[in-house]
């Protein structure tokens, strides 16, 4: 278990590169940074976040379900208003659209929490503080 601290992003990146080049797998390395350092992703060659699947799912579900629901309601008790057709698609699209975004947004949030295992009670109680420093925590379990 080794821990490196850096004051500037550049040194941090340099060190990280060095460690990874030394052949340490990224899953044995944890970095803590005060903001998102995109270079880290490039170094680790991580795949883009799986979050997008959640988002897509939520959005699609939102659209389809809400539309089906609206159709159900007008079929459940068909009431003519203003001579408009019972299933008046132009009108329904709007609510469907809103629901798409609503569900999309909520599901993405849930997805995010799930992927990051948040909220994390342990960390809430005593978080690992890095102040404004850039940390590299190298779990010696793997690599040399």
């Amino acid at each position: 278990m080794k821990q490196f601290e850096f004051d500037t992003q550049e040194e941090f990146i340099a060190k990280l590169k060095e460690i990874v080049d030394a052949g340490v797998k990224s899953e044995f390395i944890t970095t803590l940074t005060p903001f998102h350092v995109h270079e880290v992703d490039h170094i680790f060659k991580t795949r883009p976040s799986e979050l997008r699947y959640f988002t897509l799912l939520g959005a699609a579900a939102g659209f389809i379900l809400s539309f089906m629901f609206m159709v159900f309601t007008v079929m459940d008790w068909p009431i003519i208003t203003g001579g408009k057709p019972l299933i008046s698609i132009p009108a329904f699209i709007i609510v469907a659209f809103e629901c798409t975004i609503l569900f999309g947004g909520i599901v993405s949030l849930l997805g995010f929490l799930h992927l990051n295992r948040l909220p994390d009670i342990r960390r809430i109680i005593d978080p690992r503080e890095c102040g404004n420093k850039f940390l590299i925590i190298h779990d010696m379990g793997g690599g040399k």
């Binding site: 880290v40 991580t46 883009p48 949030l109 978080p127």
Partner: protein, 449 residues
Amino acid sequence: MEKRKNVTGEEGMKTQAFYGQVELDVIRAMKRPGVFYWIALGASILAFGGGMTLWGYQVLKGMGVAGITHPVGWGVYITNFVFWVGIAHSGTLISAVLFLFRARFRSAFNRIAEAMTVIAVMTAGLFPLIHLGRVWRFYYLLPYPNQRMLWVNFRSPLIWDVFAVSTYLTVSVIFFYVGMVPDFAAARRHFTGIRRRIYSILSLGWEGTTDQWRHYSRLYMFLAAFATPLVVSVHSVVSWDFAMSIVPGWHSTIFAPYFVAGAIFSGTAMVITLTIPMRKVLKLEKYITVDHYEKIAGVLLVTALIVSFSYIVEILMAAYSGNIFEKTVFYYRMTGDYKYFFWLMMFCNVVMPLTLFNRKLRRNIKYLFVFSLFVNIGMWLERFIIIVTSLGREYIPYSWGTYTPSLIEIGITVGSFGMFFTFFLIFSKVLPMLSISEIKEQGVGNETI
């Protein structure tokens, strides 16, 4: 990677000093409210309470205590609703749209703007309830299985409103909160006791590990991508509350884009109105700079031009079509009982913005402040005129009419401002006013798209 100026002003890499400085500045803004603050807060709460009381009175006595009549069934309440929804819009615009356009200057405003959005939407959401004849039956508007065996009418623009506004509120809150998670993590370091505990809970145990950041920026991007069409759709829906009807002066295809532009126009103005005094009081000048204001003023100018275009087209089309009903309405607007409002509106929303072509004025903070106030007035009047004059001059001359707001309505309007500022002042002391992590990442100073 382009050059960055840090707080101490000299060129170079970002340093620990810089990070610390940023945090300290923002956190300082969250501490030690001054006398001013308490006075302002007290006044707001007073107004808020007053407004609520008047509403109670209206509920007990009946809608009649308001000035609305036949045929002008909608008045100040709906005007306020549209106004506040409009205010809410710039929030999302600044944080989401500009985020997508990679416009860096957003980071100066986005947190404040988002807060404004959330609060304004809550305020706006109140007015449809206030204007209900039987507010104690408001739940009839929600589609839930009930003993009346009745669902809601999804063909009604008002139901679209229910969905649009609630969606907008939810998504804005999520967006707002997600943006703050890392900052809570930063904030918890600077407090002790109960506040520390609250912030750590709110931060959900955020640490800023690689994966967290990876998912985080993705989430933020998605939310922004959602919020952008949402802004447009929500105010389009609001505009369709009018455009769907066949009321002359309401039934117009241009309404959706016209209202969206108008909303952003008024909202951006409100951002200016709020931030200018705030940056003074909270000493955030170095984060919210004149360059930022110049850019915001640019947004104002563009939207103002779109709005003006719509005005002109509307009026010209009324004349062009030769449709007697349309002509009546617009003639009435320009010469009728509300002509002064109309021309004042024209001045605020069409003439004044032209001054922003002048770069000096765009960079003149004082001027912008005054200007933004005018815009707020102008946009409020715009909604008022659209609603009242159109209803006042409909198809049947026998039942034309005019409308004068009653004191109740005015009181409740004042109350709504009270509500808005109450929440806003509280926010300004409880939550980080600037996006700390973002500023750390980007530094401050001028940068371009």
